[in-house]
Amino acid sequence: MPATDQRLEVAMGQMLRIGVTVAALVVLAGGVLYLFHASGPPPDYSHFHGAPAAQEHVGSIFAGALRSESKSLIEFGILLLIATPICRVLFGVVGFSLLQDWLYTGVSAIVLTVLLLSFFTRR
């Protein structure tokens, strides 16, 4: 059993590394594109106006990223980054059930539910 426990940990670690690397590269690509096209002084960030409404929908972020729009590409990278720890918890659900540790399969499922809740509750 310890051997498989460790395998689960190593699998989680590798997943995290890949997720962060891919996300950072996508954000970097979007950032280079953004700075390449940027001109003039930076926007005024001293007052809160929220983010542009179009960016609140995952679908439009995908579409924008596919068209290589810089901000959508950055936002797509950020979504990949946020998905990384969520995938780790999903790994936990699957991994613990493979280890037949039902208590921790349940605990991981609760954490996953809370995470998903945060994306589906609005305000």
Partner: protein, 278 residues
């Protein structure tokens, strides 16, 4: 200042924050938020949004490295994540309910506590084992590598630890930070876990905790992509460099320098909050 130099300035500052954050174990978020607010005059909501993104990046990046060493405990981590993610949801919800000035004051308090905690990292050897029935039933135990073998441990005071973790999650969601200092307090001081186990497991949990607030932050528009970009990349690069140096360097002096910087930032955040400038 044009957009390019503005972004580069933020990126370099974020690198420095990530570097120092990794050296002291406090994380980059706790420095980058006040710096963005006070130095770059960025609205607090945008600052915590950008910081939260960088927190997920550094936590996941560092956790990948720690996992192999065999110190982090995935069961204890997963169990406590129930508390931190619920807390994070509450914290993210509260951001819209509390004025920026009060959030600034609270941020100052957390900065001062973090500075104090970073100077008082005790490497107390836990002398177990007073049997904790709940910890045994929840299997909150493990063993970690020590010189010439393995040493067993089991968590104590589980309900108190769980409660403090909920507070840590709330602070994380409210301030856009990892709140590693509070997480380590719960695991190290209250649950009496070995120091290396609590620091690495805490790091493991930070990304998941931050992801719980990220959904709320995104839907409220706290995360501006073009602002999160230089912060995330800078803090990530800085903290990776910092954790390499950490293995070799004697960091006592740096820790002092960082503590002074944090106290100054904390005092200024509190001052600006009390005088209504945030």
């Amino acid at each position: 200042m044009n957009t390019l130099s503005f972004s580069l300035a933020i990126c370099v500052t974020s690198m420095l924050a990530g570097f120092l954050g990794a050296l002291t174990g406090l994380g980059g978020g706790v420095v980058i938020v006040p710096v963005l607010c006070l130095l770059f005059k960025i609205d607090l909501h945008y600052a915590i949004g950008a910081s939260l993104v960088s927190v997920i990046a550094t936590s996941s990046g560092a956790a990948a490295a720690y996992v192999r060493d065999g110190y982090s405990n995935i069961r204890i981590g997963m169990f406590l994540e129930v508390a931190t993610t619920l807390g994070a949801l509450l914290g993210a919800y509260l951001v819209a309910k509390i004025s920026a000035n009060w959030i600034g004051v609270l941020f100052g308090v957390v900065l001062l506590y973090s500075a104090w905690a970073s100077m008082h990292q005790s490497a107390a050897v836990p002398k177990n084992v007073q049997k904790d029935a709940l910890a045994a039933r929840l299997n909150l135990r493990g063993s970690y590598p020590v010189q010439g073998g393995k040493e067993d441990y089991i968590a104590e005071h589980v309900p108190t630890g769980f409660g403090i973790m909920f507070v840590a999650g709330t602070l994380s969601g409210l301030l856009g930070i990892g709140s590693g200092a509070v997480k380590v307090l719960a695991m190290d001081q209250v649950m009496k876990l070995p120091f290396k186990v609590s620091t690495t497991t805490s790091n493991f949990m930070i990304g998941v905790t931050a992801a719980a607030s990220a959904g709320v932050y995104l839907s409220r528009g706290y995360i501006l992509p073009e602002l999160a970009m230089p912060v995330m990349l800078g803090v990530l690069v800085g903290s990776l460099a910092g954790s390499r140096v950490l293995i070799r360097a004697e960091v006592r002096t740096l820790r002092w320098v960082f503590a002074v910087v944090i106290v100054a930032l904390g005092a200024e955040m509190m001052f600006n909050g009390f005088t209504g400038r945030l």
